[in-house]
Amino acid sequence: MSHASTSLLTVDARTRKRNAAEARFKAYGIGAIIVAMLALAILLTSVLGSGLSAFRQTYLTINVQLPEAKLDKSGVRDLAVMRKVTTIGYASVLRDSLLETMADAGITTEMSKKDVAKLISKEAPATVRNHVLANPDVIGTSMSFDLLAEGRIDGFFKGRVTMESAALDGNTSPEALKLAEDLKAAGLLETRLNWDFLFAPDASDQRPEAAGLGVAILGSLYMMVVVLVLALPIGVASSIYLEEFAPKNRWTDLIEVNISNLAAVPSIVYGILGLAIFINFMELNQSSPLVGGLVLTLMTLPTIIISTRASLKSVPPSIRDAALGVGASKMQSVFHHVLPLAAPGILTGTIIGLAQALGETAPLLLIGMVAFVREYPAAYSPDAGLFGEASTALPVQIYNWTQRADPGFVERASGAIITLLVFLLAMNIIAIILRRKFERRW
């Protein structure tokens, strides 16, 4: 034969060719990993680059005078009366206080009072108002507040806004930025860590600096609880039935094809379905994480089923035989032996399915979760039941923020994406660890 007398130390021509093919093949593998990792690196850097700054925020420290004349004309501290003073009233209080604080610090500017007041976020009056309503005693005193600076000012300290761009910008001016710098020099303005980004609710289009992810994180959390509790067991259960127990006939073929087909149904169609079944027929609350979770469960099921069935299929029959042979029932052989061996694939399906469920916006459009929501949903309420109060979700928040006109929301959206990825990793970490534990060769 061709290789009859060749030395092992020298590689013959054919082997060389095959080894070259081997090296190529391996290189393709490495290449594939590199492509994937590179894509990941690029995407992550771009997200991190533009999003990390969302976790820092610029604050103004203003010594706010809280004059009784303006905030409680009656002087009796009756809350019902005090409420009549709206945030518009508080805004003028803040303006005056800022001017005074500036004067105290010896900072002067050419700008009009109205423009100076624009340095303060539109969120600030509400902050102060809430504080005053909660502590009516403070009226008549002066107290120091750390208030959000307006978005462009914040952007200036994060490098998003420059003097040149401000000159063209209708919403700020170089003078304002100059003033902000002076305030910073005087210690009245500071850019620091911003936990509110994670805990505050969304804010309207005029207040990018105040917008937070609190409601969205809560909503996503609730939905993922629903999805995890329903999709994984239902998905695994139906795969087990179809793969192990169901008779193999046309019907089960039909079901099999049908489930793969469900995976290809555009996610918005699940929204249509959810609207029809859960909201119109079952009369669950719209915009609620429960409905969202149910819709996402239906959407995730095919992914979990397909991957579970694929891994159940790949368990060698000899393992089943061994269990049946010692008198285990089919059920026992599946749950004791086959399922643990199929676990890595099931967990992969879960990881991918949850990733999809966590990042999906389209089906939520039709069930009212793509929304502006400022009230934190409770996990349970007597009216709304479990997860029944209106909320949004992380992808929805991202989607909304990327649509907003104010460029300040670009940073927020990227920050939200970072949060979503962290959320995803945190959610999957158990699955990833479990999967490593179950991985074995035989």
């Binding site: 127990f245 996610s267 891994s311 999809q356």
Partner: protein
Amino acid sequence: MSLSLSVLLAIALSATAYFMAPRHALRFVAGDRRKLASLPKQYGLSAGLSVFLPAILIALIGGLGGLAPASLPYIVIAVAAVALVLSIWQSRPEFIARNRAESIITLVLIAASGVAILTTVGIVLSMLFETANFFQDYDWKDFFFSTEWSPNFRGDSALGILPLLWGTLYISLIALAFAVPIGLFAAIYLSEYAGPRLRSIAKPAIEILAGIPTIVYGLFALVTVGPFLRDYFAVPMGFGQSASSVLTAGLVMGVMLIPFVSSLSDDIFNAVPQTMRDGSLGLGATKSETIRQVVVPAALPGIVGAVLLAASRAIGETMIVVLGAGAAARLSLNPFEAMTTVTVKIVSQLTGDTDFASPETLVAFALGLTLFVITLGLNVFALYIVRKYREQYE
């Protein structure tokens, strides 16, 4: 009493049954579990399930559609209580609890598969009526055979599905042509070549790609990939000026799909018994020959599953297509041209500003149903392929 409270109570009762039943049975045999017909925990399981399931079923059925009578919670509890007594009474040594437990579990498993069926029925029904409404206003021949898609607000829209189908097919094919080889090779490398360290890092890392919100991919396509392809390929090669193109969307979507193929295939490769590889290596095959000719064919059903999943995602994706390929429906072979997909149009027609009873909006349902039927056909084909080429190891 509220329904949820009664369900909680029913759960508590079934937990009681779970703990009581084995004890009751053991009492007859003086605590010697070997004399029981089934394992003690199977008595528990059987009893617990017999209590829980009827109660929850009644609660669910009664609670659906808000037709719950005020007495429903009490009925639920009564049923649970009766089942509790019965199931504990039934727990005698000669009672084969395993069979009971297993038949209940089988029912649960069947019910679980029923969810998928009901979902399908629901999807078809929820689209069928509106589709019928659409075809009352719009000629089905134009819908299926017209090559023009241009809805407008004046009511004389052209709503031909062909350009959308073509776009769907084209973009998905490009995405799969990118993702399947890369995903497969990544899976092969991870499961067959890589050490455990690299594997334990790279696999979850690649899975992140599936979790990045599609808007990020979309913007990446729009801002980076699109102009790059235009400036370095399309324009020099004379393929046009468009920054958004089928190729852009396809490639970027391909990146997103990599983990769908790689992770699942990797798990399946891992499940192929080592003796298969040994058999091949022992004949002097190289690792790559072993993989290509033994491991991959043996893992074929799983791979097809993974690819189907990826294809499904490709068909269902909107954001990347909108930002990467544009929104223009077009029938063209040029991969550097803007096109769009069925799914994108479903979303945009549903979320647009057109009159909700007009064909322009209703067409979304017809599109959805048509897509459903077409993908069904593709899946039948995939099943056939798997059946034909499946290699079942022992």
